[in-house]
Symmetry: C2
Subunit: 363 residues, 2 copies
């Protein structure tokens, strides 16, 4: 395995406190080693709808021997759901353990140490379900923490104008207040080496509208572990290409060769709701049907590269399923529809629904 | 008992997902009855740092027989803390049960039904730890939900300008988008009957600064159950009066006669940190020492009313203690210091530290 993805949250709302947030590290570096050696470039954070509190809960659950507590809290909101294994494709391993039993201190001390070593935080877009924990947690970062928030221009601008503005939250980005965190602008398609391990390339994607005439932008991040030239592609909320829009096609064309060469084997991607009638608006999100529209296109592009396997074996990790007041877990419905489409189109992709509190090891 | 206070969250951060939020209802109306009879004026929400997700967790914990789960999650972040009973004064009863075992449906269905019946939501101030769950939950309110958010002008303005602005969150307050919620302006000291049961009177309080020349405002709400003429006083984040500032004195003078007449027996009030050296800034918050400065003043005002008992027996429910990366639970330290000051000054007030997941019954 190459990448470990700790899912602090994967809900698309409306449940607070467990919305999207991932910690990503190389599989061959353990959390224990990260803490012991104070490795501050091993863990990348992508989105920040959950944070310190979820880390505390995962750590204390391991200590008290009920490791799957966070995950089960999310599953038992429904009367009918699947097991953790039932949501996970073969070829992906998962555990609720961070392996921190031997680390001394209280759960909140250990979580705060770990969070202090996550220096690079990528934000896909400024909707509150993707940044609320960053803001609430930021009070604990401390002066000159070296915490760097990375985003495209609209994300950075919204953070400055609407969040860290002394009204919604103290401006902890200012030197006067001690620079608890800094906001760093990325540019569409321009790679940036954020530390010794990771290079990131952001791509602008579409996610609904601000107004009838203005698109709302989100981001897809291509992460590269440069020490081993392996990639992970992580989408924020986004919608399918339509009409003349080719935001996603640009990404598929960019990554096709990495897939062909076996350097990119896993994609984290949103699928907010089960399929809906074509007349119903999607508010800038994906369904199994629209997601397959994209995957079929990616498959064709790879075929054109002369790689007849297409996306067979590619791991698609589903996130941002919206919780709903139903008996039946919508994650189960989304997974079933994805597997049906996969069968129907014969693509052979492998689908896993990401659950909070689990750390997934992927290639 | 007169008021039931369900604490969805009481942390002062930096842990996300469990920050301040209370559901307040008359003790003689059960949650089961509220759901059965669709009583939409029985429950008031004050602040919204936690919401639907915490309700789900409390409901599912009751169903699965580990009722204190939410509370224990908060306590076991520390190696040394107190029991739930140890944080609670005599004369206050507490339970983690909402009494909803017989209600049919999944936990998320029951929580959503209950939340849909909470029509009046009071916000003390627009810091993100007091409103993040409102925003994330709002997607589930539905069109024309009748959900009314009440706040003083600065709170309402910040919500409109910085949150429901189509950048941080879709503007779900607009008619075009279906008015998932409405924002309603209150005026300092002007009572408003928000439904058949409750009258609320907001008082502006000070909570640090926006800039050296501009005060940041928060709110204290005096709630009255008008059917029985009983009061509950709930403070948002605030600081002690100092110099010529008499924001808090105004409140103490207003409520003194209610305390004397036995109509107000409980105050929810913040105490963010243990005592700190006088040179250290408090960022608009209270410590045991500054809180006692206020309580001594209230005691004197009541004495002047010819009521020699002062605040003896008054229940002070402490909230918004800030979590810290320590072995020892800061709530335990705050409570110890409050009890020492209470002893020293001989006031005879009764202190309880509010814990998440518990419903407290008070007079």
């Amino acid at each position: 395995m190459v990448f470990d993805i700790t899912v602090l949250g994967s809900s698309g709302g409306p449940l607070e406190g467990g919305t999207c947030a991932y910690l990503i590290k190389p599989t061959n570096i353990s959390f224990e080693q990260i803490l012991a050696d104070k490795l501050d470039d091993a863990v990348l954070a992508v989105d920040f709808g959950s944070g310190l509190s979820r880390m505390c809960e995962i750590i204390s659950s391991e200590r008290y021997g009920d490791e799957d507590r966070v995950t089960m809290s999310a599953l038992r909101n429904y009367n009918e759901t699947l097991t953790i294994a039932g949501f996970t494709a073969s070829g992906v391993s998962h555990t609720a353990k961070l392996g921190l039993q031997r680390v001394k201190g209280s759960p909140i001390q250990i979580a705060a140490q770990l969070q202090s070593l996550v220096k690079a935080c990528l934000l896909t877009h400024p909707h509150i379900d993707h940044l609320s924990a960053l803001v609430v947690n930021s009070a604990s970062f401390g002066s000159a923490s070296g915490k760097k928030i990375y985003g495209l221009e609209p994300t950075c601008q919204a953070l400055e104008q609407y969040i860290f503005n002394d009204r919604i939250w103290p401006d902890l980005t200012s030197e006067d207040n001690g620079t608890f965190l800094s906001i760093n602008r990325l540019q569409h398609t321009v790679p940036m080496q954020v530390n010794d391990i990771y290079k990131i390339t952001p791509f602008t994607v579409k996610h609904g509208c601000v107004s009838p005439s203005e698109v709302y932008h989100s981001t897809s991040f291509l992460l590269e572990n440069t020490s081993i030239n392996r990639f992970l592609l992580v989408f924020g909320d986004f919608e399918a290409d339509s009409g003349t829009s080719d935001a996603n096609s640009l990404i598929w064309n960019h990554v096709a060769s990495y897939i062909v060469q076996g350097q990119l084997k896993t994609v984290i991607i949103e699928c907010s709701t089960a399929n809906v009638p074509a007349t119903q608006p999607l508010y800038g999100h994906m369904t199994p049907k629209t997601l397959f529209g994209e995957l079929i296109r990616l498959n064709e592009i790879i075929m054109k590269h002369g790689h007849s396997k297409g996306i067979r074996g590619l791991h698609i990790l589903i996130t941002h399923v919206k919780d709903q007041p139903k008996l039946l877990d919508p994650r189960k419905v989304v997974l079933r529809q994805l597997l049906q489409l996969n069968e129907h189109h014969g693509l052979g992709a492998k689908f896993t629904v990401l659950l909070p509190g689990q750390t997934y090891s992927v290639q």
